[in-house]
């Protein structure tokens, strides 16, 4: 029996009939062949978030992003005019990787006036122009104009930097994001510059981890031991229902109503939460942020808990009612491994008490992530046995169903366009 209202069709899933209700195959998460297709069909076609503008505080600030699934490294830089640009991280002379530190496979960031290749010293400006060639006279008809860094399509929305590795993107970033996501315009992301950045290597397909964070059906069970016994029992009995799901093109969102932590009986809370006034849901005393954009809390939940925006293909923005947000990125490294990145963003602490509340939220976040990560490796292993191939997904797992469908659609679409040529 559901306790919350559902769409007139009777369920969220049937509200989007293209999803169907049949059991779902997870072959897309265990097949090396499907992964090979995803490289081109998804990661060289979709807009990919690589970071935020605050990571490029001044002219000459740069960072690199390894997109291994697309066999590509990108360097993102704040140019002389204050704009954000991206280039393929490849020297035009003989193809050395241009920007890297000690280990060529590791990402790096910093500040420079120009990029100098470690191999033979060619130098490029922040606009990508080739400015200097060692012993230029030894070359044959070399026009430096023709040997600038190769640009990557790069656009910014709400301070989030996206790149598109296609030669010509099929859509602008704004069109790609669509109305559901861009209705977040105006959220004060730019005020939340205190950042905790986490990274993990996960032994599971990237879509499996996205699944773990796009349904909360698992929360009362897997994370039972994260909360005092009395709270866990109450949570398992009530189960979980989200009041609102929404799909828009390849993107999706879930909105939840809030638990007001400090109104729970004290034996439902951890002693540390009482003193720090913080926990998994973030600080209890959030900042005053003023008016919120219409895209936030789209179902008007009161109390409202969070909105989790799942941006195709591999980016999540999760906004908490307490006035802070998280991002997740899932960067595939093989069909059964990926690199997970999680960032927590707060309005900078004004004093030690606020900073301790942020620390409490961040430390708690990691404890949950550790459990999720471990479960996923177990899932990957058992899926790979292929003992079972199709899995029933319930209505609270609609977003998982949608993700796998979009992945299949994009791969299908790509195959169609490539066999017809």
């Amino acid at each position: 029996m559901s306790r919350l209202p559902k769409p007139p069709e009777g369920s969220w899933t049937e509200h989007y009939p293209e999803l169907g209700t049949a059991p779902v195959s997870y072959e897309d998460s265990i097949s090396p062949e499907f992964y090979e297709l995803e490289r081109e069909a998804i990661f060289r076609r979709a807009w990919l978030n690589v970071g935020r503008v605050e990571q490029l505080p001044r002219k000459g600030s740069y960072f690199t992003k390894e997109v291994r699934v697309a066999r590509t490294s990108v360097v993102v830089v704040r140019d002389g005019g204050g704009g954000v640009r991206a280039f393929f991280n490849v020297c035009r002379h003989r193809g050395n990787k241009l920007v890297w530190d000690e280990f060529p496979g590791e990402e790096t960031s910093g500040f420079c006036r120009q990029f100098t290749c470690k191999y033979h010293g060619w130098r490029y400006g922040l606009d990508g122009a080739l400015n200097f060639v060692q012993q230029e006279g030894e070359f044959f008809d070399l026009d430096k104009e023709d040997f600038g860094l190769v640009p990557v399509h790069c656009e910014v929305w709400a301070g989030f930097i996206f790149v598109n590795l296609a030669r010509e993107p099929e859509q602008s970033l704004h069109d790609f994001l669509g109305p559901m996501v861009t209705a977040l315009d105006g959220y004060p992301f730019d005020k939340m510059t205190e950042r905790f950045y986490y990274r993990a290597e996960v032994g599971a397909n990237w879509k499996l981890y996205m699944d773990a964070f796009q349904e909360f059906y698992h929360a009362p069970v897997l994370h039972a031991k994260q909360t005092p016994a009395k709270f866990s029992t109450a949570a398992q009995q009530s189960g979980f229902e989200a009041p609102h799901y929404q799909l828009d093109g390849p993107h999706r969102l879930v909105s939840t109503s809030g638990i007001v932590a400090w109104e729970l009986a004290s034996d439902m809370r951890k002693p540390m939460e009482d003193i720090t006034r913080s926990g998994l849901f973030g600080p209890w005393d959030g900042p005053e942020l003023g008016e919120m954009p219409p895209g936030l809390n789209p179902a008007g939940c009161d109390p409202w808990g969070l909105d989790s925006f799942q941006l195709w293909p591999n980016f999540v923005i999760l906004i908490w009612s307490g006035g802070w947000y998280l991002t997740y990125q899932y960067w595939p490294t093989s069909y059964n491994t990926h690199t997970f990145e999680g960032n927590l963003y707060f309005v900078p602490a004004r004093n030690a008490r606020e900073r301790v509340a942020h620390e409490m939220a961040a430390v708690t976040f990691k404890e949950y992530g550790l459990q999720d990560g471990n479960t996923l490796e177990a899932t990957q292993m058992s899926l790979e046995s292929r003992a079972v191939t199709h899995f029933p997904l319930n209505d609270q797992e609609i977003l998982c169903r949608h993700l796998h469908k979009v992945a299949a659609d994009w791969v299908e679409d790509y195959k169609k366009n490539h066999t017809e040529v």
Partner: protein, 111 residues
């Protein structure tokens, strides 16, 4: 002259300062994993009742201009947050059901 690490009012916590005043989450997490429950319980029992006062003490200074001893006291608070996960919830150093999963904090605010 004194070689105390923490503010004067927190003398009874000095024995923990050498072990638990750690600047980064990576160090604090590693120390938690390397500690016995008994060691963490001793630290928690000694510090938890004074936690509120410790935060209040740090709050008498601007966050970006903490004196050395207050900065170390704040690091001790972060360590208590870390240890509380083991003491209050899991009753073992590592999160239950986390096995060998690892998540690294690569960047964090200072202090």
């Amino acid at each position: 002259m004194t070689d105390r690490l923490l503010p004067a009012g927190f003398a009874e916590l000095e024995p923990f300062a050498g072990t638990w005043c750690l600047a980064t989450e990576t160090e604090r997490y590693a120390r938690r994993m390397a500690s016995s429950m008994e060691e963490m319980r001793t630290f928690y029992d000694a510090f938890f009742p004074r936690l509120e006062e410790a935060v209040a003490h740090c709050d008498t200074f601007p966050l970006d201009a903490l004196p050395e001893d207050a900065r170390r006291l704040l690091q001790l608070v972060y360590s208590l947050v870390m240890v509380s996960m083991s003491i209050e919830i899991f009753h073992q150093p590592k999160a239950v059901d986390a096995a060998d999963a690892e998540i690294e904090r690569v960047r964090e605010p200072v202090p």
